[in-house]
């Protein structure tokens, strides 16, 4: 079951930077001693996703917890091996490269894909000072640089991320920094590897609301300078919109392991083509006075289904206010609606059997 590929807007050369083709990532749940002879429960974290990342690209992934966005993100940067499907870096399969079967060395790929974590408290080694933590990436990428030159780079990057005086911050331990400062150090550490793609896994969710814009601005400023793409994971649609819009990228909406809608932020938000995107929109807090009296949620159930047993057909049919009988049986593919806007819903096809099908009764 292959899906239409989602092409990045500007890919240099013939191969996109990262190309993910119909991957599945399934986890087996741990079994206790008594269940040893039963079939293991399988969590379908990611099921059949294809997406491309270009140079200097921004892809924002949104969805509820359990939708697989973190797993997809980690697969994109090569920290998670897919159970099915393939992922390529500049045309070479990453996991084949790890086995030594391509012309690239895995070290090169590994160092060009980096991550910034959600929790600032555990993203830095508490026993090492900042200068030591930041020396590590330089030592890996430029082993022949002198200690003095290393320091210069560290101080200069600390200043770039807004931590001055740099030598004071560099000699501190992580517990002496605030959450926002720790995240900036994590960003600096990722950038010092001079990566091609950085995965920002809910990187701003742990920061205070008033600090989030600052952090996103910082990431976008440095993106141009370091020529890096971002995969920005967020459960908050307004943050994803800010980041994707300023970065001239796309927003991808995920639900229970599927990519259900992908497109430019403005179009996705003003004219969502998938009912789930509408639900996310409804849930996003809004300061406009008239919108604060929002009505009931545009979905039939609050709780998300168990990823071990995803619903049949279209996975959203158990909560979708527009669901009909055909949605229970068939799963919609990610269809191209316009240039770079894709959605996986029968409603976007005026000729589909959906329109003759009966609505679902609860």
């Amino acid at each position: 079951m292959s899906r239409t590929r989602d092409a990045a807007p500007d890919s240099d050369g013939s191969d996109p930077l990262i190309s993910v083709d119909d991957i599945e990532v399934h986890f087996e749940k741990e079994r206790g001693l008594l269940e040893l002879f039963d079939e293991p429960d399988i969590v379908h974290a990611v099921d059949g996703v294809s997406v491309d990342i270009g140079e200097n690209d921004v892809l924002a992934l949104v969805g509820e917890s359990g939708c697989g966005k973190t797993t997809l993100g980690k697969t994109i940067i090569g920290l998670q091996e897919p159970t099915e499907g393939s992922i390529s870096y500049r045309g070479r399969d990453i996991w084949e490269t790890k086995a030594g079967n391509t012309d690239l060395s895995f070290d090169d790929i590994r160092s060009s894909l980096q991550i910034i974590h959600q929790d600032p408290g555990s993203s830095l080694n508490p026993n090492r000072r900042i200068v030591e933590t930041l020396s590590e990436p330089i030592r890996l990428t430029h082993p022949n640089i002198s200690a003095g030159e290393r320091r210069t780079r560290i101080y200069s990057l600390l200043e770039r991320v807004g931590m001055t005086p740099a030598h004071d911050f560099a000699s501190r331990y992580p517990h002496q920094l605030s959450g926002g400062e720790k995240q900036r150090v994590a960003l600096a550490r990722a950038l010092l590897m001079n990566p091609d793609v950085i995965l920002a896994d809910e990187a701003i969710s742990a920061l205070d609301v008033s600090l989030r814009v600052e952090m996103m601005d910082l990431m976008l400023d440095l993106q141009e300078e370091f020529n890096t793409s971002f995969v920005f994971i967020s459960h908050d649609l307004s943050n994803a919109r800010y980041f994707a819009a300023h970065g001239n990228g796309r927003i991808g909406v995920m639900y229970l392991g599927n990519l259900v809608e992908v497109g430019p932020p403005d179009r996705l938000i003003s004219d969502p083509q998938h009912p789930y995107t509408e639900v996310l929109r409804w849930a996003t807090p809004n300061l406009s006075l008239d919108a604060s009296e929002a009505g009931d949620p545009p979905m039939r159930k609050i709780d998300i289904p168990d990823p071990v047993n995803p619903p049949s057909g279209c996975r959203f049919h158990t909560r979708c206010p527009e669901a009909r009988a055909v949605c229970k049986r068939e799963q919609p593919e990610l269809r191209t609606l316009s240039d770079d806007h894709r959605a996986a819903c029968f409603r976007s096809d005026p000729d589909h059997r959906y329109w003759e099908s009966d609505p679902i009764e609860d």
Partner: protein, 360 residues
Amino acid sequence: MTTTSDRLHRAGDGVSDPILEVKNASVTYDDGDTYVLDDVTFSIERNEILGVVGESGSGKSMLASALLDAIPAPGHLSGEVLYHPDQDTTIDVLEFSDAELNEYRWAEVSMVFQGAMSSFNPTMKVGAHFKDTLKAHDRAVPEGLEFAREILSDLYLDPERVLDSYPHELSGGMQQRALIALSLLLEPEVLVMDEPTAALDLLMQRSILLLLEDIKEKYDVTMVFITHDLPLVASLADRMAVMYAFELVEAGPRDQLIGDSAHPYTRALLNSTPNIDAPLEDMQPIPGKSPAPVNVPTGCSYADRCPLASDTCRQQDPAFEAVREEHTVACHHWERAAEEIGLTFGEAASIDGDAGGDPR
């Protein structure tokens, strides 16, 4: 530090039937050198939802603990916390004996903590928590559990399944709702919630907010919702209060606080949060950071980051003034705040037009 006189505050705050009043509440460590709550005075109207907004490090969690007289030692709470179970009775919470405090907590004023995951005992089933609470307050267990089942189904949970599960078997959203049910178990008058939706994702947050409205109607509770996320509580609250550097800086009805706030910090806060409808260019972070308890400056604590700051601000702590009926603010230059700091969202943006000043 000034003494926020309750005469001034009473004149302006428009609370006619307070259920809880906090007067000059201060929490200090180190015997009076450092304050983590600085002379806070405000009232909570019966059956309203009060939203208290502040960054982390503004003292809001201390405020929550103060309402239950639960400041952890070696902190010391001074001032008054007055509870009015009905219009004619006044009880000073801080004068309670231990037995009275036990009865007050959870049965009169109850609390929902941040991080449901760490609020439950992982070795006990959820139902056991409910039973423990009932027994600790000498309530009949079977009737109490019946009531618990009712609350749980109001929160869209399956009562039997939830009561029979261990906390880790439930999702984050379910744990948080179970915690809310636990806090309502003894039918309290006031529910204090400290970041109850912090670790949850968007849909769950929004759904829980809607549920809280229903709960408030059905169970007749007053709610105090404390958070750093202003847009989140804006849809729920009747009145709002803003805290900065351990002090209260502005309080008033929600519509006025969002559409026509008078304190520069409130306006900057509104501008700094990414809003789904706001034009992208106008979002601005607030430069600088809030002071640690040892570093709170004399005079107005926001002066360092305020575009309207003058010498008066740096020397004198502003007193509360009434912007209009029910809306009070502690700022020397609040009249100019509206012109100088434009708001960047929705109707407010079209009202203020190009007056958007640059707080940088």
